[in-house]
């Protein structure tokens, strides 16, 4: 692993994205509109909202992330620049790590805006620590981008690749989706401390396994 090369690829991706704003605008708009829709659909003072809040929040992040994930490899594939990267003396693992890290930065950027927005719009009273809830969401996002970035590379040669990506990513993410919602409920509703939530450890374990698998298998995916 060469951190400097990973950093250079991430910087290039961020620079390209901030110039073109192809993905980030859509991601922000989608999360904002989704939260706004749910806000109008539900009574912000209803006790039921406290119950469904964690699930709703994670639902918005998962589908917002889907918009960004599909672009990481597919755009490079469509413009032919992925070959440019593969022609340079960069290991395939470093390319995968760079794309995963870039996706994570996008997701965390959206989370930084959408999480406080959720609290304000829904007048949500978090029973535990808001920082703990943010960390659980971030962990869920890490699992999401590790699996999603790898799958984005896997489907980049497929027809209707963006549709295929959603079909195969969601079942794979089901364990982490459930674990994140349970952890969020424990922090946001029951006020449990982050360190004493067993599900959080399971998310970390899931991320570790998926990251190892992705870095082993990625070389075979990019080779024709």
């Amino acid at each position: 692993m060469n951190p400097l090369l990973i950093y250079r690829i991430v910087c290039k991706d961020l620079k390209s994205e901030l110039r073109g704003k192809e993905t980030i605008n859509f991601m922000f708009l989608f999360s904002f509109i989704s939260l706004l829709m749910f806000n109008f659909a539900a009574d912000p003072f209803s006790p039921a909202l406290t119950e469904v809040g964690p699930g709703l929040l994670w639902f918005v992040f998962i589908f917002t992330g889907m918009l960004g994930l599909s672009r990481a490899f597919i755009k490079e594939k469509e413009t032919g620049t992925l070959e440019g990267l593969l022609l340079a003396p960069v290991s395939t693992e470093d390319i995968l790590y760079a794309k995963t890290f870039y996706n994570l930065l996008l997701m965390l950027g959206i989370q930084l805006i959408a999480f406080p927005l959720f609290i304000v719009l829904f007048n949500y009273n978090i029973a535990g620590s808001a920082l703990d809830a943010f960390i659980v969401l971030a962990l869920g996002n890490i699992a999401f981008v590790v699996v999603g970035s790898f799958m984005s590379a896997l489907v980049m040669n497929a027809k209707s690749r963006e549709l295929v990506l959603q079909i195969i990513v969601l079942p794979l993410l089901l364990p982490v989706i459930i674990l994140t919602i349970i952890s969020l409920r424990k922090v946001m509703i029951a006020g449990v401390n982050l360190l004493s939530i067993g599900e959080v450890k399971l998310i970390v374990f899931y991320v570790a396994i998926m990251a190892v698998l992705a870095s082993i298998l990625f070389e075979y995916i990019v080779e024709e």
């Binding site: 250079r8 690829i9 032919g80 990267l85 022609l87």
Partner: protein, 227 residues
């Protein structure tokens, strides 16, 4: 130096290359000729480490492309019909990015001057014409000072003027002692840039070509090649 020994590549039941042998000396300009589907691009992709051969081996300056792909990549610069450039970034930023990947420190303003794009250094590549992108692609390919240039139909889709500009650039690189392997459909391109070549048909080398032979002889060879 490029050495290819008994190189074969099969995709399921389709044999793209079948026991290819080639030896291209350092500083030589060599053309791979042949009709569409002959296996020219497959050979270039194996040499550029994008594909792994089914059997046989390919050496670039005695480095096996399968055994030491990252070292092999430092030996080559690849120019194909795809410029491998990022439209949102400027010409300068594209070259800086690729230089960073090679961990080399080239004189980028000088490279841009070489390809006549110094006045457009700060323009996004998305605004460039195809010819300009192809010239910038040459700068990208040589920024780590590779000894070997692999040119895979580099002028396809270029107009006459852009093609001539491209030939001038390649001539300059030849004079710097680069080994050049070119695939092309154009007779004047092969004859103008290369001394020797081979004809590939259905993944097999069918004959060698002396590209300094008289024009009518070459025209006959090209005519037969298309059949």
């Amino acid at each position: 130096m490029i050495r290819v020994e008994e190189l074969s590549k099969r995709f399921n039941n389709f044999t793209a290359l079948d026991g290819i042998n080639l030896h291209i000396k350092s500083g030589e300009s060599f053309a791979l000729l042949g009709p569409n589907g002959a296996g020219k691009t497959t050979l270039i992709r194996i040499l550029s480490t994008l594909l792994k051969p089914t059997s046989g081996r390919a050496l670039l300056n005695n480095i096996d492309v399968t055994v030491e792909p990252e070292d092999a990549k430092r030996q080559i610069g690849v120019v194909s019909h795809n410029p491998y450039l990022y439209d949102e970034l400027t010409a300068l930023e594209n070259l800086e990015f690729y230089a960073g990947l090679y961990e080399s420190n080239p004189d980028i303003p000088e490279l841009l001057k070489l390809v006549n794009l110094d006045s457009r250094a700060h323009d996004p590549v998305g605004n460039f014409s195809r010819g300009m992108k192809q010239r910038l692609s040459i700068a990208r390919a040589i920024l780590h000072d590779p000894k070997i240039l692999l040119l895979d139909e580099p002028t396809s889709g270029l107009d006459h003027k852009s093609r001539n500009n491209f030939y001038t650039l390649v001539d300059r690189l030849k004079s710097r002692g680069k080994t050049i392997l070119l695939t092309t459909h154009y007779l004047e391109e092969a004859a103008g840039l290369c001394e020797n070549g081979v004809i590939l048909k259905k993944g097999v080398v069918t004959s060698s070509v002396d590209l300094k032979a008289p024009q009518p002889v070459l025209e006959k060879i090209f005519e037969d090649m298309g059949r």
